[in-house]
Every structure is written in C-alpha cells, then in structure tokens.
C-alpha cells in the first residue's frame, strides 16, 4: 500500500483547528457531558485570548495600517513562493504554486512613492519550484536554494542571480525544501546560512549549511547540543553573523517550542556555529505558543522582530496573527506585543505568504490555502504594512491615496547576449517536421521546447469527415479563427 506524498502541513493544522464536536440529544432528561465540566476546564479550548495575551500588550501594542494593493491580472497568485529585495524599494516574488501549475516566473514590485519604471524581466527558471528560499546578497545578487516540485521530489539545485541572469551554482549537499536561509557575512564576503528543511523521504533536517561564491557549500562545525531536526521554522539574522532560530515542525508533527541564538565564527579557515538556548529567557515559556510557529515569516525591524502568520497548535486570535517581539539579552527579558490591524483593514491569509522589509515598509505578498476537497483560497492582494507611528508620515499619506506597492512591468529579455531590447529582430525559421512512433519519442520532442510538425499521425475519422461543407455548417462562414502567440523568451511558455 502506498501513501500519497503529503506536504500540506499548515493546511492540515488549520483543518484540525476547525474540528468541531457537536452533541445533540432527544428528550429533556439527558445531561450534557460538556456542561458538567467535561471540556469546560480544558485549557486548550475556546478562548485563545486568555492564554495568549501578552503581558504588556496594554502599553506596548502597536497598530498598523495596512494598504492592500489588488493584484492586476497579469500578476500571479502564488503560494509558497519566495521573495527577496533586489534593491531599495524593489522586491521580487519568485516561483511557488500558481492557480494552474507550479511557477518558474517572478513578479516584481516597487514600494514607495518614486515614479514607476519598467525593468528587464527576471528570467524564468528551468524548473518551477516551491518551498525554496531566495536570499538577497546585496547589489542585485541573490541565491536561490532548494525547493521542490512534488512533495517527494526535493531539489538540491541552486542558482545565483547576478546582472539579471541566473547562473547555476553548486548543489546543496542534500535536496531540501521548507528550509530556512539568511544572509550572513563570512570573511568580509556575503554568504547564505541554511538550516533545517525537509528531505524527499519526509524526514526533517538538522544540518547547517553555509554557501559562499568562493567555497560553495560547506558544513560549519556544530556542537552536540543544537536545535532538533525540523522544517518550516523561523530563522532571522540579528547581525552579520548572529541570529535567532525558533519554531518549526518535526517529522513526527510536533511543533518545536524553543528559541536559539546562533553565532557564526571563523577560525583558522574553519567555520563554527555556536548555539545559546534561550528558552528560559524572560517569559518565553508563557509566550512560546505565540512565537513558535510553522510556516511563519519574519523580518528584523530596528531592534525587534516581526512574525507574521503561519500556524500553531492552537488557533491564533486575529490580533495575534502578526506580532512583534524584542529580546533584551542583557536584562534577559523578552517583550512581545501583538500588532493589531487598525479599523477597516481586511484580514489576509497568512499561510504560503512571503514577507519582506524594504525602506520603511513591510510587504506581504502571496499566500493562500487549500481546504482539502473544498477548494483553494488565494490572497487577491499584496499588502503593505505601515508600522510608522510617526504622525507626520501618517498626515502625509492622508493627502494622497497613492498606491505604495506597484507592480513593475517587465521588459522581455533580448535573446542574444549584448543586444538591447530595442534591437530584437524577428527571425523567420522553418518549423522542422518529424515523425514519432512511441510515447517516449513524443516526450523527448516536448522537452526540446521548440515548435515542430508531426507527420504521419493517425488523427482518426476527422481527416475524411471534415470537409469544407461540414466545417462551414459547424463553424460558420463568418467566424474568424486565428490565434497568435508571442513569447518573450525562447522557452515559449504559453501558460500564465
């Protein structure tokens, strides 16, 4: 007996959160077991606010206004894609699951008030992927690592984006998806630190991998006491060589309720990772269910960390979906406060989403869920969170209802290196003709991704039946049937 490969953890948890137990009976004599303290004293029930209220939420809760930007038609709805900052105020959102298929394209967004200018398109990837990571390394460079196609097909491939083109670089030591990645600095050059993730067979990874352009992938030395294997955890950098790790799901479906500080160091040409277990800092144990999530996004903002979405063992109250916390290492304190949406701000789906911080904004793109057998929900908007408490900024924005987040139109890339987009000249070439005998031959032709004419096929009775008279009757004399497809790159993808 085989089981279907499964990778819908957040949806599974959301589904379980909505499990209801209903009791009904006839007659008046029966007494409900629910009334007699059966479930009444159960701590993990009905009112999540009671247990999740932050201690100083009274004085420190911030509210954010959120500007939804409705996605225009040509921008894809995506879930489990990855986003990164290309440069100040410009972000890309790549891959993920689209409405019809897995995606290998990138949408570009601009945040801020500058005039919108088109840019060269980010080239499509060879393989569509989801649950991958893209880490910005500054100066327009980024590393795309891992991901998967189907849940039992993890990818090890990595691609480096530079000068607006992808260059294949070293494969990860093992194919991984749902891993975490942050940018670090090693020996004064940028690198990417990867932790956790899920293997093709479903097991969680507890390995740490470090990538740099000069060394490829290496495994830093780690001590025996270190974080458990897990995937979809939250990792954030606090500085060039230090950061936090928390949350995530183990292969046995238990959530990791822990908080670690990692420190990367270099000595005599070797790299080391040190870990500090912060699970007894301040009120962490009381707050752990709010902080430790599965599939949450996080960004560092000034001195605090914002966590958005993901799922936990209990339903998050609406106002706790996005929270901010601050760690005071000196005083061994943890302060946490919910970021409440201000009035009139719609709720967004915070699963399969991606969040970044750029300029003074936080942007949330993508997101959506599938409720098994009942259909999918997609965020139809991208969201800009304005966390500024500065009244001057607020006042300024009231005056112009301008979109802060805009989609950047992408120029098609020139086919030949060195030619600018103004110089593309259409070439007429003959479409090759061929015969195929087997399904395998047909598949190989498809992989070539070039147009071809198939000769000698048995198309059935239509070759005799479809006379001009029949076609005239069925289609009509006036009907014009002509379809022209133009593609920007040689891969000629028609599905968008």
């Amino acid at each position: 007996m085989s089981t279907e490969p499964f990778d819908e953890w957040e949806e599974f948890m959301l589904f379980a959160h909505h499990y209801a137990l209903i009791e009904a009976w006839n007659g008046g004599t029966s007494e409900s077991s629910l009334q007699n303290g059966g479930l009444k004293d159960d701590p993990a029930r009905l009112n999540p606010d009671d247990q999740m209220e932050a201690p100083d939420s009274e004085d420190n809760s911030s509210s954010f206004s959120c500007r939804p930007s409705k996605l225009p038609n040509k921008v894809s709805c995506r879930r489990f894609g990855a986003s990164w900052e290309l440069e100040n105020g410009i972000v890309g959102h790549l891959g993920g699951l689209g409405k019809d298929c897995r995606l290998n394209t990138t949408d570009l967004y601009q945040l801020g008030h500058r005039p919108l200018r088109p840019r060269d398109a980010i080239p499509t990837l060879d393989t569509p992927c989801l649950c991958h990571t893209i880490t910005s390394l500054g100066l327009g460079k980024a590393l795309l690592a891992g991901g998967r196609t189907s849940p039992d097909a993890a990818l090890a491939g990595c691609w480096f984006l530079s000068e607006n083109s992808w260059r294949k670089v070293d494969d990860m030591p093992r194919p991984l998806y749902r891993h975490s990645a942050v940018a670090v600095i090693l020996s004064s050059s940028p690198g990417v630190l990867v932790f956790g993730g899920r293997h093709t067979e479903g097991a969680g990874s507890d390995r740490w991998y470090l990538w740099s352009a000069s060394n490829g992938w290496i495994e830093p030395r780690t001590p025996d006491v270190r974080p458990d294997a897990r995937f979809s955890s939250t990792m954030v950098a606090l500085s060039d060589q230090q950061g936090l790790l928390f949350g995530g799901l183990r292969a046995d479906c238990t959530i990791c309720y822990d908080l670690w500080k990692w420190t990367l160091s270099e000595h005599s040409g070797y790299f080391f990772l040190g870990f500090e277990d912060l699970s007894s800092i301040g009120d962490f144990q009381k707050q752990r269910e709010m902080i430790c999530r599965v599939g949450a996004c996080s960004v560092q903002r000034n001195t605090s960390i914002v966590i958005a979405g993901g799922t936990g063992s209990n339903v998050f109250a609406q106002q706790h979906e996005i929270i901010e916390f601050f760690l005071d290492f000196e005083g061994q304190k943890l302060r946490l406060w919910p970021l409440r949406r201000s009035q009139g701000v719609e709720r967004m789906c915070l699963v399969g989403h991606s969040m970044l911080s750029t300029e003074q904004f936080l942007a949330i793109v993508g997101g959506g869920v599938t409720c098994f057998s009942f259909g999918s929900y997609w965020n139809q908007c991208s969201y800009v969170l304005d966390l500024a408490n500065d009244t001057e900024l607020r006042k300024g924005e009231e005056n112009h209802q301008e979109q802060i987040l805009k989609v950047i139109p992408q120029h098609c890339m020139a086919n030949d290196a060195g030619r600018s987009t103004d110089e593309i000249i259409a070439k007429i070439s003959k479409v090759p003709r061929c015969r195929v005998e087997t399904a395998r031959q047909f598949d190989r032709k498809i992989l070539e991704s070039r147009p071809f004419v198939l000769e000698g096929l048995n198309l059935g009775a239509c070759t005799d039946k479809w006379t001009l008279d029949i076609l005239r009757t069925k289609i009509g004399e006036d009907r014009k049937v002509c379809s022209l497809h133009a593609a920007c790159d040689s891969m000629a993808h028609l599905i968008r």
């Binding site: 209903i22 009791e23 009904a24 009976w25 006839n26 007659g27 029966s30 057998s373």
Partner: protein, 110 residues
C-alpha cells in the same frame, strides 16, 4: 452493544474484505453472516454480535431504515449516532434529511 457501520456499498465491501482477510479481525468480530464473499443485494454485508456492516447510500433513507429495522429493534434501543467525514460531504438537503430522520428516535443521541 452493537456497532452499526453504514457506508457506500463499494466502501463497506472493501472494509468487509479487510475483515474477512485479516485473521485477527475475523476472530475479534466473529461474524455469523457475511464471512464468505457472496455477491448480494442485501444491505447487510457482515453481521456479528457486536458489529453490523450496512451497505447503503445515506441519501436513501427508506432503504437505510428498512435495513436497520431488519436487524434492530430501533424503538427499544438507545442509539448513539456518530458521523465522521460523512455529513460534511453530503449536499445540505440530504444531510438535513438524515439528521431529521435520526431525531425521530426517542432515545437517540448524537
């Protein structure tokens, strides 16, 4: 106490096959009827002291009722109804009809 299992004919047949082919389950359930795989139109596919497998689409309440009555004295029984991954997948009118049907029993409970 008897556990009455109601499901679509294809699914209940599959379940009965598993019971028939698994020695531990056969021993546990110890069916008096349905041990042999006999093609039958009868709704009762497997019967034992503590387990009854009924093949019936839950939208067909007449059939369900007659199948149950043929084996159980419904008026003098305490009945606990449970539904898991069944009602939610039915069309609302059919699910409503089923729930209404269950409410006719004086000693019924969900």
């Amino acid at each position: 106490m008897q556990f009455v299992d109601v499901d679509y004919p294809e699914l209940i047949e599959r379940k009965c096959s598993v019971i028939r082919e698994t020695p531990q389950l056969r021993q546990l359930i110890n069916p008096s009827l349905g041990l042999d795989r006999v093609k039958t139109d009868s709704e009762i596919r497997l019967k034992s002291e503590q387990y009854l497998a009924i093949a019936c689409d839950l939208q067909d309440l007449t059939r369900l009722e007659s199948a149950l009555w043929s084996e159980i004295d419904l008026t003098n029984s305490l009945i606990l109804f449970t539904a898991e991954v069944s009602l939610t997948y039915m069309e609302t009118p059919a699910a409503d009809a089923l729930i209404t049907w269950t409410s006719q029993f004086d000693h019924g409970k969900w």
